[in-house]
Symmetry: C2
Subunit: 322 residues, 2 copies
């Protein structure tokens, strides 16, 4: 049996490093490895991890590598410009080093943009010309596809909607400012909201689940699905905060679909009626509420997208040379 | 002497109707007419106005018509879908009716997008691949060019950044909601800010200028340029409100240039230091403050852009048929 053509996707995260072999034909993950990112080892330590995982997963059908990173890079040279949760990477020639080791082409991509590409090519956004991918976890990242094109902007920085100001005062954001959407609507805000609700309703199921530990989206989901009124009101309140940003992103990008990834998306089915009501109520005349779908790939959307970037590059090179 | 090739630009506004003959070569306005829009006459009344003005301005070199409108339309059919300040236009086949009368091709464009096209092709944004045109007058309209493409989105509605929520509470916006950027930073907000400042400093130059009438940007500018401290503090405060939205639009579109049109742009040179400070202070790491320029065409940017749309269409047809 011939070896099916494939590409290797790499997802470099602040917590996990994931590598997968993805088939060119169906965009299917054939095999995957995961390791805790060697943050302390810096670029050289992580590079050694990547190389080991790539060497195990690649085969005779591998056409190239795609790596998604939580930050910015120079598109042509594949040099890292800056990563959010990983110090010491600025100026590291990641694409060249991986390419030298593997003798394969290597392309970098930003993690939110790679996830959008993954969902666009093989997931929840197949066939859409106007959609926004939003990942809601520790922070909020986004990538917009408008008129059939993925927006990059100067330095590839377009899509930082998590740090748009939506209220005047709030707790301080990780970026140091106040009023950012992600302070109201990312995972930590859900946890704060749940803890406050549990404190004021100590006999609720939600409060019971949280006695031993801090509350998170997991407990909110469990209590809400069991019908706990307190948890359901936390979900409703969180949906209205998420809705503020969804209204804003509809007004700026005019998508017809919003794909939601990240941990908070596990609550999406419970939040959807409230989100829909906020959109219906708050959108300008002429706008229709965007369809809201959960990510098809969850936390491997970036990995699948990185492999797709590698595949598209390999094919564009093939078109030029043949 | 041969007649230079030209197109006719039409700018349909809620107050003024403007028509101009614009040369294809330099994108220069050769001749222009202006009339108060016959709002009461509805589409048929305004159409008659347009036809008269076009008939006087066109000549043997006229290749086509472009019309910019304050609202939305169907791109292929040229039917109006909805206009902001003009009732009764929904469903009116404006492009077809003008084309039937003139025997020229006619293309519609949204007014903010036409202004961006005018600035991009012949004004303040020549050569830029990433910029946002923002018009600040009664409301705030915008159009983003990202990665060398003008963003439209579903229904051509992308760019409604004036109606993104930036604060939790505010006076009510024209759209009926609270917290929209334009409530804080458009012309009426400047007037309210000036009137409040004049009331609390009745001996200021600004207060003196406003005794006989309501204050507007004109009096703020006059007093500020004369060095009135009260007027200068109004300018500073208004700049910080404008800055909130500029930071947001940098985060979502990642432009390197912001072109400001509309009446409030007359204060731009006075506001620029404060705007620059807000951007410097509030942008995420990696972002550089966008250059901020005043519109090169002022209130005829849309007219010039509409003529450019007509020219581009005439040339694309010429390329296909020859």
């Amino acid at each position: 049996m011939p070896i099916p053509p494939n590409t290797i996707g790499v997802d470099l995260g602040g917590t996990w490093l994931r590598v997968a072999r993805v088939t060119v034909e169906q965009g299917r993950v054939a095999e995957m490895e995961r390791a805790a990112t060697d943050v302390v080892g810096g670029p050289e330590g992580v590079l050694a991890q990547m190389q080991g995982m790539i060497d195990r997963l690649r085969d005779g059908g591998t056409l190239g590598l795609g790596v998604c990173i939580p930050g910015t890079f120079d598109v042509e040279s594949g040099v890292v410009l800056g990563l959010a949760a990983l110090p010491g990477w600025t100026g590291f020639p990641l694409a060249a080093r991986l390419s030298d080791h593997t003798m394969l082409s290597c392309r970098l991509e930003n993690d939110a943009k790679a996830a959008a590409i993954g969902e666009w090519e093989a997931g929840a956004a197949i066939g859409f010309q106007n959609f926004v991918y939003v990942t809601v976890s520790t922070g909020i990242g986004a990538c917009a596809v408008v008129d059939g094109r993925l927006l990059r902007g100067v330095g590839g920085l377009a899509g930082e909607i998590g740090h748009t100001q939506v209220v005047e005062t709030s707790e301080r954001c990780a970026c140091g400012r106040h009023g950012c959407w992600q302070v109201l609507a990312a995972g930590p805000a859900l946890a704060r909201r749940a803890e406050a609700a549990a404190r004021s309703s100590p006999s609720s199921l939600l409060a019971t689940l949280g006695l031993a530990a801090r509350l998170s989206g997991v407990e909110v989901e469990r209590a809400a699905r069991a019908g706990d009124a307190v948890a359901l009101s936390v979900v409703r309140e969180h949906a209205s905060m998420l809705g503020i940003g969804f209204v804003n992103l509809q007004h700026v990008y005019a998508p017809e679909l919003i794909v939601v990834g990240g941990g908070v998306s596990n609550l999406l089915d419970l939040m959807r009626p409230h989100l829909g009501a906020v959109l219906q109520d708050q959108l300008l005349p002429g706008f229709k509420p965007a369809e809201i779908r959960a990510s098809a790939f969850g936390d491997i959307a970036g990995l699948v997208g990185a492999a797709a970037v590698a595949r598209n590059f390999a094919m564009s090179v093939a078109r030029v040379t043949h």
